[in-house]
């Protein structure tokens, strides 16, 4: 709930922790929802508003994972609350703190930044209006795929059957040969899958960022890691993901809607 009233803060805060940028004019208050219960409010200039809290001019640092998780969760909660209150927002990375210098106060530095970037922010806000980010990660189970490949491709199947019918020494050699051929087939299949899945997903969303592949804790190996931008509630992606997920040995992880963290960069 936003309250239109004077900011509860002095104009002389030493630092301003910035959560996100949104459209808007005039003061507003989002309440004590910030990191460690800080009061979150808006600083506006030229029709663009930064959602901030007052802080000391030093980074948030801790060695305590619980504290850090709490901060990150609060950051995300405030960005979500701002999205509810103002519509589309440009989320900041964690720990972005503005301070002024001797000549320019912190509040003036904040407003100056908004004014200088007004055109860029307006363009971004227009482009992202009514859209959300979704995370799509495609993983596969190498063992399952490998078994299917061997079963499905005559040369590999022949190698396997031959290995089973030979005496131990020769069988071992043939199995090594099979293992190498299977690895190569897996590499090819991984590339083919990644290209195909990317093309299908790209075809039904507004924009895509290809993110680095990650090593997971689970059995699955990641083939594709995408951030997708599309209108909230757009259904076509679901059909595409169902079709991918329906492939034996292939799993899709889907998260969202997220604020468009991956689509506000240069």
């Amino acid at each position: 709930m936003i309250v239109e009233r004077e900011n509860p803060t002095t104009a002389s805060a030493d630092g301003l922790y910035v959560y996100c940028v949104a459209r808007g004019d005039g003061p507003c208050l989002l309440g004590a929802i910030g990191l460690e219960g800080k009061t979150v409010y808006g600083v506006a200039a030229g029709g663009i508003r930064a959602v901030v809290h007052d802080c000391r001019p030093e980074p948030y640092q801790s060695q305590d994972p619980h504290v850090l998780k709490g901060w990150l969760a609060s950051h995300q909660d405030v960005v979500s609350a701002a999205t509810q209150a103002f519509g589309t927002v440009l989320p900041m990375a964690f720990d972005m703190i503005v301070r002024g210098d001797a000549q320019t106060g912190t509040l003036a530095a904040m407003k100056g930044w908004l004014e200088q970037n007004r055109e860029r922010f307006t363009r971004l806000l227009d482009r992202l209006a009514s859209k959300a980010e979704y995370g799509v990660q495609v993983l596969w189970d190498r063992a399952v795929i490998a078994a299917a490949l061997v079963e499905g491709r005559a040369p590999l199947r022949a190698l396997r059957d031959e290995a089973m019918s030979k005496p131990r020494g020769l069988a071992h050699l043939l199995q090594q040969k099979l293992a190498k051929a299977t690895r190569e087939a897996l590499e090819m299949q991984a590339q083919a899958f990644a290209q195909d899945f990317y093309a299908r997903i790209r075809g039904c969303v507004d924009d895509v960022r290809v993110e680095p592949l990650k090593k997971g804790d689970g059995p699955g190996q990641m083939l594709l890691n995408l951030s997708c931008l599309m209108p909230e509630g757009e259904r076509e992606l679901g059909d595409v993901l169902d079709a991918i997920q329906a492939l034996e040995g292939v799993t899709v992880r889907f998260t969202g809607p997220w604020p468009p963290y991956s689509f506000v960069g240069a």
Partner: protein, 90 residues
């Protein structure tokens, strides 16, 4: 009818949030920001903290696509790999 969906794609983890909040999002110009230097440290600390865990968040950002973008149960799993297609070169 509520389809049974694999846990693996039902939940956003802290890692999903970390990826976004630490590495992406808007950054401030260097001359008015003070905190950029702290980010790698926080990322490293947290990555260690969450290694091996699958921490579920509760912010309404975790969902499967049926919940998130539509309400149709997924089709039956099928094997499209078992037999090579006619166009595939041997």
């Amino acid at each position: 009818m509520e389809p049974e969906l694999p846990q693996s794609y039902r939940r956003a983890t802290l890692v999903d949030l970390l990826d976004r909040v630490l590495d992406r999002g808007l950054f401030l110009r260097a001359d008015i920001v003070i905190a950029v230097a702290g980010i790698p440290l926080i990322g490293a600390t947290l990555s260690l903290a969450v290694a091996g865990t699958d921490t579920m968040l509760k912010y309404g950002i975790l969902s499967d696509w049926d919940e998130a973008i539509r309400a149709v149960p997924p089709p039956q799993r099928q094997s499209l790999l078992a037999e090579p297609s006619g166009t595939r070169t041997a």
